[in-house]
Amino acid sequence: MSSMTKAEANAPGTRLGVRGPAHYLRRYGQQIGIITVALVIWAFFRIGAPRTFSRYEIYGAFMSTTPFFALMALPLTLLVIAAEIDLSFPSIMAFGMMVFSIVLVRAENAYLAFIACLVAGLLAGLLNGLIVVRFGIPSLVVTLGTQFFWRGVVNVVTAGNGTGLTSTKTTFLYGALVGRLGDRIPAQMIWTIVVAILVWFFLNRTRLGAHVYLCGDNVESAKLMGVNVARVKMLVFAIVGMVAAFAGVVVSMEVLYYWPTLGEGYLLNTLASVFLGGTSVFGGTGTIFGTFVAAFIIGSINAGIVAVGLSGFWTQLIYGLIIVIAVTLQTALSRRFS
């Protein structure tokens, strides 16, 4: 093997200099970038509305409502890293909760309803994956279709009628999903952290997670090296579906009512969280940490804008500015340091 050493001895290796700040910027650039964005926005709100942002209530409100879409943004990050997309998860939320409310009414058992809901979400996600993998249709098109399909199923079955969930309020499930820990921390915030840790572990500490990156980066080489691309993608679609159904339960339990329109309005917030968090739209790179922080940035803007004295009409304008500026900066910086 010594000849190999000789052959490569002159390999250009010193072009980047010694391991210093640049090394860490390269390695943790995405994470540093998103934290910087979060701090700048927080400072802006803190200065603009010192009274609101120095009290717990505003943070409690963020922790109560941001999980509704942060939960879905986390597994969706896996899908985008694998170079796929899912537009159907808002409808899967509604579909899962439709199953929940049917089982709840018939069996009068919230736990059974909860399990049925998760299974329904899992199967709906799996169906997305199956169509994408078996027929090779772009997931953008497939999930655009299933998004209409599941919403349509919900509309036909419920005829637009909602279901009251007050009967679940006395169950352990209610407290576990949307109760308040120590009367302060919303349980859904804890679940968001739990899901973030689980998804992070899956992505970074399991073989299937490692294959998620490979599927999104170079699917040809992944296949050639024996990665079961179809299995990885179907699994991730199924996870997204199941977590969407879970998020649907959390949202509905919080208001103790199931609306058939559940999920509408979450699509763009969720996707924005993934992309603002630094996940590449082309696949292959992205972090769970980035998505987690980005979701809370997106979740804080609405209330923050009102608190600093601007009207709510400013919300979308600021969203737009932050997303475009942050993503442009990230791209520019990653070119500079990689």
């Binding site: 190999m4 490569e8 990156y213 170079n218 050639l224 990665v227």
Partner: protein, 257 residues
């Protein structure tokens, strides 16, 4: 002769197009076989069958190490130690060096948890001992997208040898490389022979194949048009034959494969 790989009467069609017609092909143990031919000659199809990426049409036979292989899949090929090394498709650009080395063969510890630290350490060892990266700037965490063509070939061949591949399948390892990078890539090919392993070296460029190959097989329009051991033919003679094959589709005297 003791064959490592033997294909008998392998055909492959894609719809109407017949890509391979009854091709027989063999590779001896510790032998480097050059596979040359024009675009569309069937080189890629043949190696995709050998690596289990395509299934041949019914009727042919594949033997590896003397054993008949009923169904060659990507997983089966890897179990047997057949390792493809593609220049363009070998590496995932945005991933770190260690993820590329252990692509599809990640090391795990208890409960199937990835052993990231050990993969990084092993990569670091390979980098200094085999690939010759001495700089502290290139770490196992560095992405591979800025590496040169020769370095990328080095990573892919090192990966194959590290996992004890028996037969390395090199698809145009010198394509698009500069002169010095080509030299590097060819040195790595020679390293396969020195490590006691076998290789199939696919290239358009006979001038790159000839110096490192023990035997050269010429494909043309889906058939084996000729086969020469290095003792049989000079480089000039081979070039003349290749021109003749390209024009007529056959050699002067039919050659038993």
């Amino acid at each position: 002769m003791d064959d490592l790989l033997r294909l008998i009467d392998i055909s492959k069609s894609f719809g109407e197009v017949q890509s391979l017609r009854q091709v027989s092909f063999r590779v001896g143990r510790n032998e480097i076989v050059g596979l040359v031919g024009d675009n569309g000659a069937g080189k890629s199809t043949l190696i995709k069958i050998i690596t289990g990426y395509h299934q041949p049409d019914p009727g042919g036979e594949i033997y590896f190490g003397g054993k008949k292989i009923d169904r060659m899949t990507v997983a089966r090929a890897r179990e047997l130690g057949i390792e493809p090394v593609y220049q363009e498709r070998a590496l995932a650009d945005q991933q770190s060096l260690w993820r590329n080395i252990f692509m599809g063969r990640e090391l795990t510890q208890a409960f199937g948890v990835l052993d990231v630290r050990r993969m990084q350490q092993e990569t670091e060892k390979l980098m200094t001992q085999l690939m010759g990266f001495t700089s502290t700037a290139v770490t196992p965490d560095s992405t591979v997208k800025h590496m040169s063509g020769g370095e990328r070939q080095g990573v892919a061949i090192t990966r194959a040898l590290y996992f004890r591949a028996e037969l390395l399948v090199l698809d145009e390892p010198t394509m698009g490389l500069s002169l010095s990078e080509t030299k590097k890539a060819l040195d790595f090919v020679a390293e396969i022979k020195r490590a006691g392993k076998a290789g199939i070296f696919i290239d358009h460029n006979i001038f790159h194949v000839y110096p490192v190959a023990d035997r050269i097989v010429v494909l043309d329009r889906g058939r084996v048009a000729g086969e020469f051991s290095k003792e049989q033919i000079t480089l000039e003679g081979l070039v003349a034959k290749l021109h003749h094959v390209a024009e007529t589709g056959h050699l002067d005297e039919p050659q038993a494969a």
